[in-house]
């Protein structure tokens, strides 16, 4: 597969959030602001890329029967590395993302890519796939976080542009669902137009 296509498929056609509907838990839980969404997206991209690389590297040594537990151990290790690193160097972001950082390990996107792609493809291709999907994921998260932040707090990336509060509903639970619903609808509309 053409590597450029491999890289960019995660942005629109096969965007994990808007098209494949994978890894949705953190999508709703960490997008109260653009920076949180971006932070989560990048953390997930790291785990996705690194585990894709490692899985692809040792795919011939993992017996088929234990491959899922093996993938899980590999993914969980990178998640813990991200956890510890974030706690040490970006503690504010770490506190904001909270529970969802360890939950990267059950992000169906990460396990899904290991199973569907990295275990069957060469290292470089898997790396590009992981990185591209991760960036697509980050894009979606940042967008969602951005919309929620603008509507709900009247700011973007922490930069406030109104006085007082926005429509608080959007930084709360219902707002997450509703904004995501509309964004997916827009995506589907866009796709059907270009189809």
């Amino acid at each position: 597969m053409n590597q450029i296509k491999n890289f960019t498929k995660g942005f629109v056609q096969e965007n994990p959030v808007f098209v494949l509907f994978l890894g949705l838990c953190p999508v709703l839980g960490t997008t109260t602001s653009a920076i949180n969404g971006l932070g989560m997206g990048l953390a997930t991209t790291f785990v996705l890329t690194m585990s894709n690389i490692v899985v692809s590297l040792i795919k011939n040594f993992i017996p088929d029967k234990v491959r899922i537990p093996a993938f899980i151990v590999i993914i969980a290790s990178f998640v813990t590395i991200v956890e510890l690193t974030m706690q040490a160097f970006v503690p504010t972001l770490f506190d904001a993302l909270g529970l969802f950082i360890p939950l990267i390990v059950v992000n169906c996107l990460v396990l899904g890519r290991s199973e569907a792609f990295a275990s069957k493809n060469p290292i470089w291709t898997s790396l590009v796939d992981g990185f591209g999907m991760g960036l697509g994921f980050s894009l979606a998260l940042t967008m969602l976080g951005g919309v929620r932040e603008i509507l709900g707090s009247g700011s973007i990336f922490g930069f406030k542009f109104i006085h007082g509060d926005g429509m608080i509903l959007f930084v709360l639970a219902p707002g997450a669902f509703i904004v995501l619903g509309y964004l997916i609808m827009l995506m589907q509309k866009l796709k059907s137009k270009s189809a």
């Binding site: 109260t32 040792i58 040594f61 993992i62 017996p63 029967k65 234990v66 537990p69 093996a70 151990v73 590999i74 969980a76 290790s77 813990t80 590395i81 510890l84 690193t85 706690q87 040490a88 160097f89 503690p91 506190d95 909270g98 709900g152 707090s153 509060d165 608080i168 930084v171 709360l172």
Partner: protein, 182 residues
């Protein structure tokens, strides 16, 4: 088959142990910086190392931590790390700065999971709500929300958070009255 899994797990654990050792110090440093930042915010100017003079008091199964702040050896205030479990989303940890005579100097929020836009207004960077506690003495300022007959203005639509916040302050004050060092 099992061997492959064991090898992978072993390799993973080793790598993790390594990263853990590497990040242990920065993590501890980040936590300390956060604590010191709060202590500085809630107490008057000091030139000692409050963290080295930390003392604890067990309260209801948990612990409160006391950090005396001194200027040239004399006590100017004590930062008390208090908590409440009655927050809307559970645990809230605060740092209360208490002057030697018992007056509340300032309060800073350390940790919470309260609702953004509502309960999180107890944070100074979100609103000035917590400023109402400055220079109030619990002996002549009823440290409960007005709804409960007190003197504290609750955050709009966040009575639970406000109530819990007051509870945490009172916990700190009562502990200080009982066992605060001079």
């Amino acid at each position: 088959m099992l061997i492959a899994l064991v090898v992978i797990t072993f390799g993973a654990s080793t790598a993790l142990g390594f990263v853990y050792q590497f990040t242990k110090e920065p993590i501890a440093a980040a936590k300390l910086a956060k604590k010191m930042d709060a202590i500085v915010r809630v107490t008057p100017e000091f030139n000692n190392e409050p963290n080295t003079e930390e003392y604890k008091m067990p309260i209801e199964g948990d612990t409160l931590y006391f950090y005396p702040a001194r200027m040239d050896g004399e006590l100017v205030g004590t930062a008390v790390q208090s908590f409440t479990k009655q927050g809307f989303s559970g645990l809230i940890k605060i740092m209360v700065g208490i002057l030697p005579d018992g007056t509340i100097n300032e309060v800073a929020v350390l940790e919470h999971k309260e609702t953004p836009g509502l309960g999180d207004k107890m944070e100074r960077k979100k609103s000035d709500w917590a400023a109402q506690f400055q220079n109030k003495h619990p002996d002549n300022f009823n440290m409960t929300v007005k709804k409960d007959g007190g003197d504290v203005d609750a955050i709009t639509a966040s009575t639970i958070t406000s109530r819990a916040f007051c509870e945490a302050i009172l916990r700190a004050y009562n502990a200080y009255k009982e066992g605060g060092h001079q």
